[in-house]
């Protein structure tokens, strides 16, 4: 990957991919005051390389002050909103909910850019010796937006809501290892576990685990860095800085959280300066954002998979050769280069990527695009065609399937695509149709990433591949402290998935957001768009 990057820098303008072309054009236009059209002509005529262009940029720009400034307000646009915008953190499911939750509420724990859990409303936390009980010391002197004091009662109420029998919490089953939360003192609580769980703090950093006021369902009374001034579902919410915040708090005076659902309009609004932050830039728009003045494309590597699920308990996926055929027909390099425009990495049919750090099994041989092998396996499976259900669950997934279809056609395999809308997809198609597509927000650890999709008998085992050894390894690896042995466990799991499951993961996409250039210190937590929505408290305007 690194070599490729150096190579790209030495490539002349004509040979660059179109995102880098955009960067060269922008630099030339910005530095020399050329119009974009002239810049394109100039670049083409002189064959300038990216390295040369970037040098021009460095020498041309003055260093920007790095001390945060207070003041100003931003408007942030998400890709989706509607009358189903939620007020109860327990029911948060979309980026706009996460953003509002981050602005108004706090969690016990929050994620840093490196995914380590950091204390938030919990001043400190520690497990007992076998991690079957966790004790959280809470911050004192924290006040709710309505002026009342924050205590352990609020935490116990907020946390136990997820666990009750009639709970509708989105993360109820994720939290199933917790038995109950108990109040220990006015500012101390205890989580009692069903079984040992050393990852509890990480789970508590999830978007839905916000602390709300005792007896409420949220109602936008939080302890967070911003107050809710007005909330119109499907229109916008307006927030003001909480001057009574328990830590230094937000730099911005105010922010507005909304959505522009049309992707083309969202990019145009950013470039026109009508919004300052946009979540989710479509690959089609990379070149536009890269080459426009005053805006920056932020691309954060993340293990967000472009996944094709082949059900192992149904035809044709129960045939291993069929799955192999589907895996070998993926032109992974091309998906990353052409469809993701370089903002992603190839996948190896496992849900773990380099973004997961040392738990990624880099020594597992990469499965390459091999139409001959695909043809061989399809032939052996006896199938000459199949139907794949596609919904636009993530950027690039439809185009990935189109590419697979075109390549299948070339080897005489008839891969039919059935395009269905996003709404209703998770309930009616996913885990039901024999071939469907999936994506998952990156989970903070390789273990939780694999457990959710490949834990035997799990709720979301979306290829219905139940491997007993996989289940054993998932718990063994959690308890293993020796790094070498731990890595061996992780590698064995990834090899099992790579060889046996019904999952095709040809690529991982980066998280791509756009900002105006004066937005500083955007967080880079790779668990969701816009630094997992950690931006409200952290950014400042230059």
């Amino acid at each position: 990957m690194k070599d490729k990057k150096i190579l790209d820098h030495e490539l002349k303008y004509q040979d660059l991919d179109h995102v880098d072309k955009g960067r060269v054009e922008k630099i030339l236009a910005g530095n020399k005051g050329y119009s974009r059209r002239d810049a394109i002509k100039l670049a083409a005529a002189t064959g300038v390389t990216l390295a040369v262009a970037e040098n021009m940029l460095i020498s041309g720009n003055k260093a920007i002050a790095a001390t945060p400034k207070k003041g100003g307000s931003v408007r942030m646009a998400n890709p989706v909103h509607g009358p189903d915008d939620q007020t109860d953190p327990m029911m948060f499911t979309s980026g706009i909910d996460y953003a509002r939750g981050r602005a108004v509420y706090n969690g016990l724990v929050q994620h840093a850019d490196d995914l380590s859990p950091q204390p938030e409303l919990a001043a400190s936390f520690e497990p007992n010796s076998d991690a079957t009980e966790w004790t959280f010391k809470l911050r004192k002197g924290v006040e709710w937006h309505d002026g009342t004091k924050f205590t352990a009662d609020d935490v116990v109420w907020s946390m136990n809501r997820h666990l009750s029998d009639d709970s509708t919490s989105v993360i109820k089953s994720v939290l199933s290892t917790i038995k109950e939360w108990k109040k220990v003192g006015t500012h101390e609580v205890k989580a009692v576990m069903h079984s040992s769980n050393s990852d509890l703090p990480t789970l508590l950093g999830m978007f839905q685990n916000k602390v709300i006021k005792n007896g409420t369902t949220g109602d936008w009374i939080g302890t967070g860095p911003f107050t809710m001034e007005s909330f119109q579902p499907g229109v916008k919410s307006v927030h003001k800085r909480n001057e009574n915040y328990w830590r230094e708090g937000a730099n911005l005076d105010a922010c507005e959280i909304t959505a522009i659902t049309d992707p083309v309009a969202r990019v145009n609004a950013l470039i026109a300066g009508d919004i300052q932050i946009m979540a989710n830039v479509d690959p089609k728009a990379f070149r536009q954002v890269e080459s426009a003045d005053g805006v920056t494309l932020l691309s954060t590597p993340a293990a967000s998979q472009l996944g094709i699920c082949i059900l192992k308990n149904a035809k044709p996926g129960e045939d291993d050769d069929f799955v192999k055929g589907m895996q070998y027909i993926q032109d992974r390099e091309r998906i990353v280069k052409r469809i993701l425009k370089g903002k992603g990495v190839v996948g190896n049919d496992t849900p773990v990527s380099g973004a997961h750090g040392s738990d990624w099994c880099s020594e597992l041989p990469q499965r390459e695009f091999d139409p001959d092998k695909a043809k061989f396996h399809f032939k052996k499976s006896g199938y000459s065609g199949a139907e794949l259900f596609v919904a636009p669950v993530t950027a690039g997934i439809e185009d990935t399937c189109l590419l697979a279809q075109a390549n299948c056609a070339k080897i005489g395999f008839d891969l039919k695509l059935k395009k269905v809308p996003n709404d209703g997809y998770w309930g009616a198609v996913w885990m039901k149709e024999p071939l469907n597509v999936v994506t998952w927000n990156m989970r903070p650890t390789a273990n939780s990433q694999m457990a959710i999709q490949f834990g035997p008998g799990g709720n979301w085992n979306d290829t219905f591949w139940n491997n007993k050894r996989m289940g054993e390894l998932l718990s063994l690896s959690l308890a293993e402290t020796d790094p070498a042995k731990r890595h061996a466990h992780y590698c064995e799991m990834q090899t099992l998935i790579h060889n046996g499951s019904g999952m095709v993961i040809p690529a991982f996409t980066n998280i791509n957001d756009g900002i105006r250039n004066n937005v500083m210190d955007m967080p880079k937590v790779p668990l969701g768009q816009c630094g997992a929505m950690e931006w409200p408290e952290r950014i400042w305007l230059a």
């Binding site: 509607g82 189903d84 499911t93 229109v235 145009n268 026109a272 300066g273 809308p421 209703g424 009616a428």
Partner: protein
């Protein structure tokens, strides 16, 4: 006679409302997934689905849900959005004003433009000016709305920075600020609906020009302009008003693409969102409003065409 006609139309309007509610009910029952599975999405488990359905009351058979909605509706209670928990009256009241304002402004600008351009073209049929109007209107009818809207954004907002690319309404802006904020969607919609109305005005007048009594007037040597303004126009009002009524109904219910591109908080997008989240009471509420608007507009159009044509005022 007129009063009787209007009363009869109103009765028919209520029958149409009832039919609309049944059709909407049947159609939404075809959709895959329900509101609970859409709220929980990928994270749904059988237990949370069951709990949420029980909480929302969507575990009842559809037919019972329909009649409970109907019962509440009769007492004036629109209910609560199943998907988000806000009251439907609050969701609608925050948008109905926007929708009516936009439809009203577009009508205010486009109707005079359309009728005068249509008249102008009809007065000079076959000339290059007429051809220009025809070609211009056909070109704008023929390309998708999102294409026109995006081109306008690229020119007026992204390149020239004259107008904002999206609409943000705070509710306390001055008239000037308001007009600037909604200028882009307003402009797009004026272009889209004017094209059709110009075309129909021209066609309506030319059609009347073919009738025997106009031919008679022409033979008698009455000037063409006078014929059109004095005779043909009033006889063509019926069909023209009908086209205007249908276009106004479209401006209230059908402008989802323009509302989406410009993030304009109106009713059309609300209904599409409601369908996509299977929020049955909200879908029904929007359908009732749209149907009501349609019925009222059609009655107004009928009244206008009767008033404009003395011959129709007398029963045969």
């Amino acid at each position: 006679m007129m009063k009787q006609m209007v009363l009869q139309r109103i009765a028919i309007g209520f029958a149409t409302l009832a039919v609309v509610s049944v059709i909407v009910f049947i159609m939404t029952s075809w959709l895959p997934g329900d509101v609970a599975s859409i709220i929980l999405g990928q994270a749904a488990t059988p237990e949370t689905l069951a709990a949420l359905r029980a909480q929302l009351g969507t575990d009842q058979p559809l037919i019972i849900q329909y009649f409970s909605w109907l019962g509440n509706m009769m007492t004036g209670d629109l209910g609560i959005s199943k998907a988000g928990g806000a009251t439907i009256s609050s969701l609608i009241s925050s948008r109905i004003g926007n929708t009516m304002m936009m439809a009203g402004l577009v009508a205010l600008i486009s109707i005079p433009i359309s009728i005068s351009l249509g008249l102008f073209a009809a007065m000079h049929p076959g000339t290059s000016l007429d051809r220009m109007v025809t070609f211009g209107t056909l070109s704008t009818i023929s390309v998708p709305e999102f294409f026109i809207a995006t081109i306008l954004v690229l020119i007026l907002a992204v390149n020239l920075h004259w107008l904002p690319s999206t609409t943000y309404l705070t509710g306390d802006e001055t008239l000037g600020q308001l007009l600037k904020a909604i200028a882009m969607p307003l402009f797009t919609l004026v272009i889209v609906v004017s094209a059709q109305m110009i075309r129909m005005t021209r066609a309506g007048i030319l059609n009347v020009m073919n009738s025997p009594y106009i031919e008679m007037a022409i033979l008698k040597g009455v000037p063409r302009k006078r014929i059109i303004l004095r005779h043909a126009f009033f006889n063509a009002i019926g069909p023209i008003v009908n086209v205007i009524a249908l276009n106004l109904a479209y401006l209230v219910s059908g402008v989802v693409i323009v509302e989406t591109i410009f993030s304009y908080p109106g009713l059309a997008k609300l209904m599409i969102d409601a369908v996509q989240t299977r929020d049955l009471p909200l879908v029904q509420a929007c359908a009732m409003i749209f149907c009501g608007v349609y019925v009222v507009l059609i009655i107004l159009a009928d009244v206008a065409s009767i008033l404009s044509n003395p011959r129709l005022r007398q029963p045969k």
